[in-house]
Structures are given as structure tokens and as C-alpha cells.
């Protein structure tokens, strides 16, 4: 090959490297950068001038330094590193996920004198993989909930019929007037225990509904209706209600299920204050506290009741866990959590059982579903006013 031809081949290769979409970097065996193409400039934010002569550690995050040492070690032994997925640091300090292929560069005698490094951004691919994984997880969770619901529904049906017969039979026993006092009180116990079974079945049943299309549900209006139902009880127990309900914000959901969530939480709060207290109820536009970009509606129920002791706090969402003895089914919060999850919402519980300042605050977040949630909610509010 003549010198001219050699030069033109080298020039063409240099042009290819320079115009490549991948970041192409070379370094010597001590890790000092010896070339840096245009894509590397774009990707890492350092110009060739800034990078060449510097250590490759320039773009390697502190916690991955060891990784580079083992790469250099492999290169010294003439081995390649193929499509290695890692993280590198830009000039502005941000991290990027890359797939890199590192190959040894040899001189004319075949001796390894350095390495070429080709890097391709995979952050976007990673993100879409992560999104896919998350949506699969959500689906699995939903399927699990649906399966649990279907099981509860079929069990409930099987149980409701015999429950009816036994309820009727006990009623007949009690009302025929042929029972002694002792026998009658035993029948009373059987009846009330049976009624408890019926409540449990009814509650697990309501957990599962055949899918009908969701509708727009105005949370504040629903809460106001629910408060109305409980008003006599609130007054009797001596609970002062402090409502702050901003009407007109809607979520897409199943009205009876949302009502069930609200009723369950209100009832728990009322039962936590048998000697009266204060009940703060709020409905207002808000953001998801775990995922700030999600907008929606927050429903807060805060009571000044006895609070949840720390040792049981982790169990309150378990099915059949109750502190209300025979009065409770232990399904209320379990159902609430399931229904909130079904509406892609979140639930948060803060509680203190410290004497004098005890109480429980339960917050629920429902996302608004439109693509521009805020705009949509505002629009609907204007229409509703």
C-alpha cells in the first residue's frame, strides 16, 4: 500500500469515527484518553481538547472505579469486553446508562498498546424496560386482587344460602315460644354469631364486583353524602366535624366502591372516639406524595381518637385483623386498601397513641385520569359550578 493510499484510508476511517453516532474513545493502558470523537463530546459534555490527556476516570463515577481497573486488566490480556452495560458521568455530574464495547488496540507488532471504547446510550431503552416491568407488576397485582375477589365472591355465594337457612331456622326456634330461658339465650348467641358471619361474607363480597364501566365520581359530594348518613351518630357520640370539602373534583371510578372506602374510614374514625372528639375531613386537589408528577385528589380523615399502637401498625391492612373484638370483621381496611389499589390510588396512615395528643390521620390519593389532569379537573369544576 502506498503512502497516499494509506493516508486516504486513515482519513476515511477517522471521518467514520468522527461522524459515528456512538461515542468512540481510545485510551492507553494506563487509562489516559488519547482520542475523543464528536459523539463523545455530545454525550459527556467534554470537548476533545478537555478530555484528551486526562484519565478515563473523568467519566467514571466514584463507585465504579474498580470496574475500570478490571476492564483495563482484561484489555492488557488481549481480551474484549462486549456490550457491557454500565453507568458513566457527564461533565455536569448527571449519570447516563451506557452499553460499552471495549477492544484492545495493538501496534504493528501485535502488542496491546491501548483500548478503544464504543459507547451507546441505553437510558431510554432501560426506562422503557423499567416501565414495562412496572406495568407487568401492576397487572400481576391486579390479577391477584381480582382472583382474591373472585374467590371471595364464589365462596360468599356458596355460604349465603346455608346462612339463610340457618338464620331462618334459628328465628323459628326463638319465636315458637317453646324454649327454656337457657336455651333461648343460646339461640340468641347463635343468631348474633351468625349475623357476624353474614357481615364478613357481605364485606368480602363487596370487594369483588363485575366490571362495569367506571363513571365520574365527585369525591367531595360523595363524602358529604356519607357524612350526612353518619350525622346522627356523630352528634350522639359528641364528635365535632370540621369539614373542608372542595367540590367539583372528579375521579374516574366505581361510585359504590369509592363510597365504601369513605364509609369505612369514617366509621373507623367514629369508633376510635367513643367518648367524643374532633373529626377533620378534607377533600382537595393534590399531588401523589410518592410520584409528584401525578395529580389528583386527596381525601383526609383525621381523628383525635386513641391512635394505633406501634406494635399493631403493620397489621392494620391484614384481612381478619381487628381491634374491635366481635363488633369488627377485620375486613374494613383490607377492603379499603384493595379498592384504593384498584383505582390506582395511594393510602397513607399516620398515627400516635401518645396520651394527650393521640389520633390517626388517614390520607387517600386518587389520581385524576385525564392526560392533563389539572386542566381537566379545573374544567370540570367550572362546568359543575
Amino acid at each position: 500500500m502506498s503512502g497516499d493510499q494509506g493516508d486516504s484510508v486513515t482519513g476515511r476511517l477517522a471521518a467514520i469515527v468522527e461522524s459515528s453516532d456512538d461515542a468512540i474513545i481510545s485510551k492507553n493502558l494506563d487509562g489516559v484518553i488519547s482520542s475523543w470523537n464528536k459523539s463523545a463530546e455530545r454525550l459527556f459534555g467534554y470537548t476533545a481538547e478537555e478530555a484528551i490527556g486526562q484519565s478515563i476516570m473523568l467519566i467514571i463515577p466514584a463507585d465504579r472505579r474498580k470496574e475500570e481497573e478490571s476492564i483495563l486488566d482484561r484489555i492488557r490480556h488481549g481480551q474484549r469486553v462486549d456490550h457491557f452495560e454500565t453507568v458513566r458521568r457527564r461533565k455536569d455530574g448527571t449519570l447516563i446508562e451506557l452499553s460499552v464495547t471495549i477492544s484492545p488496540v495493538r501496534d504493528s507488532t501485535g502488542r496491546v498498546v491501548g483500548a478503544s471504547k464504543v459507547g451507546r446510550v441505553i437510558t431510554e431503552r432501560r426506562q422503557s424496560e423499567r416501565a414495562l416491568r412496572e406495568s407487568e407488576e401492576r397487572l400481576r397485582k391486579t390479577e391477584k386482587l381480582a382472583a382474591a375477589g373472585q374467590l371471595a365472591a364464589s365462596l360468599a355465594h356458596e355460604i349465603n344460602n346455608p346462612l339463610s337457612s340457618v338464620t331462618n331456622a334459628l328465628y323459628l326456634l326463638k319465636t315458637t315460644g317453646e324454649l327454656s330461658g337457657g336455651a333461648k339465650s343460646l339461640v340468641d348467641i347463635a343468631s348474633s354469631e351468625l349475623a357476624r358471619m353474614a357481615r364478613i361474607v357481605k364485606q368480602s363480597l363487596s370487594y369483588y364486583r363485575r366490571a362495569v364501566a367506571p363513571t365520574d365520581v365527585d369525591i367531595a359530594t360523595t363524602v358529604a353524602e356519607s357524612l350526612q348518613v353518619f350525622s346522627a351518630k356523630l352528634e350522639r357520640v359528641g364528635i365535632a366535624v370540621q369539614p373542608n370539602l372542595i367540590k367539583g373534583y372528579v375521579v374516574s371510578g366505581f361510585a359504590d366502591e369509592i363510597r365504601q372506602i369513605i364509609d369505612n374510614l369514617l366509621l373507623n374514625a367514629i369508633e376510635a372516639m367513643p367518648d367524643g372528639g374532633r373529626l377533620r375531613i378534607e377533600v382537595r386537589p393534590s399531588r401523589d406524595w410518592k410520584q409528584g408528577s401525578r395529580q389528583g385528589i386527596r381525601f383526609v380523615v383525621a381523628d383525635t381518637g386513641s391512635g394505633i399502637p406501634k406494635n399493631i401498625a403493620s397489621r392494620i391492612f391484614e384481612p381478619f385483623f381487628t381491634t374491635k373484638e366481635e363488633k369488627g370483621t377485620g375486613l374494613g381496611l383490607w377492603v379499603v386498601r384493595g379498592l384504593v389499589a384498584k383505582h390506582e390510588g395511594r393510602i397513607r396512615v399516620c398515627s400516635s397513641d401518645r396520651a394527650g395528643r393521640s389520633g390517626t390521620v388517614i390520607s387517600i390519593f386518587w389520581p385524576t385520569v385525564a392526560s392533563s389532569p389539572e386542566g381537566d379537573a379545573v374544567l370540570r369544576r367550572e362546568l359543575a359550578v
Binding site: 365472591a153 360468599a156 355465594h157 355460604i159 349465603n160 344460602n161 346455608p162 346462612l163 339463610s164 337457612s165 338464620t167 331462618n168 331456622a169 328465628y171 323459628l172 319465636t175 315458637t176 351468625l194 349475623a195 353474614a198 357481605k202 363480597l205 363487596s206 369483588y208 364486583r209 363485575r210 362495569v212
Partner: protein
């Protein structure tokens, strides 16, 4: 007052009949839709309480036939499963507005519900 109970669960139907009779009403049971339609013509009930899921004709179909023939008859449905919601809302769309009672219903509650019809 005459009350017809339609339920394929014989224990439920029979105990309900006894409860109603104990309250001084005439009551009888039919264990499927076909039998129920035969009973209606001879028994002339003022109130019909029917299960929704029945073998053969379902409770909604039976009650539609009864209601069309005897418009003054009061009809209640009762059911132990939520899947019946759809059947009931179908009936509603066709103009039949019947109350759906959830099984198990407290006998006293049922008697209280029926009482106004007895004095009607």
C-alpha cells in the same frame, strides 16, 4: 295475605314459608320457575319473593311473566351473589323496578318489609 316464595334451595324456601305462616299469612313455596308459574294461577299471591338464580328459567324471567300477567302483584328478588346485579339492571331497563334483597336477610326485617302490604 298470600305470599309465594320461589327458591331452589328447599331449606330456605320451607323455613321462610314457616316464618310467614307463623306471622299469620298464607305462604307456599315453589322450587323452580315452571312450578312457580303454575302456582301463581291457582294461589294468586299478593307478594312474590323470588331467588334470582334458578335452574331453567331464572328468577327475573319468572317474575317478568308473573308481573305481566298480574300487574298488582308485589315482587321482591333475593340473591346471595353480586353477579345478579346485571340481571336486575337488565330488568330495570325493561321497566321492572323490583327491590333486590341480599341473602341472608334477617327474618324480622323481611316481615317488617311485607307488613304494609298485608294491611293494604
Amino acid at each position: 295475605m298470600r305470599v309465594l316464595i320461589i327458591d331452589d334451595e328447599k331449606h330456605i324456601a320451607d323455613t321462610l314459608v314457616m316464618i310467614l305462616q307463623q306471622s299469620g299469612w298464607e305462604a307456599t313455596a315453589a322450587y323452580d320457575g315452571k312450578l312457580a308459574l303454575q302456582h301463581v294461577d291457582t294461589f294468586h299471591p299478593k307478594v312474590v319473593i323470588s331467588d334470582v338464580i334458578l335452574p331453567g328459567m331464572n328468577g327475573i324471567e319468572v317474575c317478568m311473566a308473573i308481573q305481566s300477567k298480574y300487574p298488582a302483584c308485589h315482587i321482591f328478588l333475593f340473591s346471595g351473589q353480586p353477579a345478579t346485579d346485571e340481571l336486575v339492571s337488565d330488568a330495570r331497563q325493561r321497566g321492572f323496578h323490583w327491590e333486590l334483597l341480599a341473602k341472608p336477610i334477617e327474618p324480622q326485617e323481611l316481615l317488617d318489609k311485607l307488613e304494609p302490604f298485608a294491611t293494604e
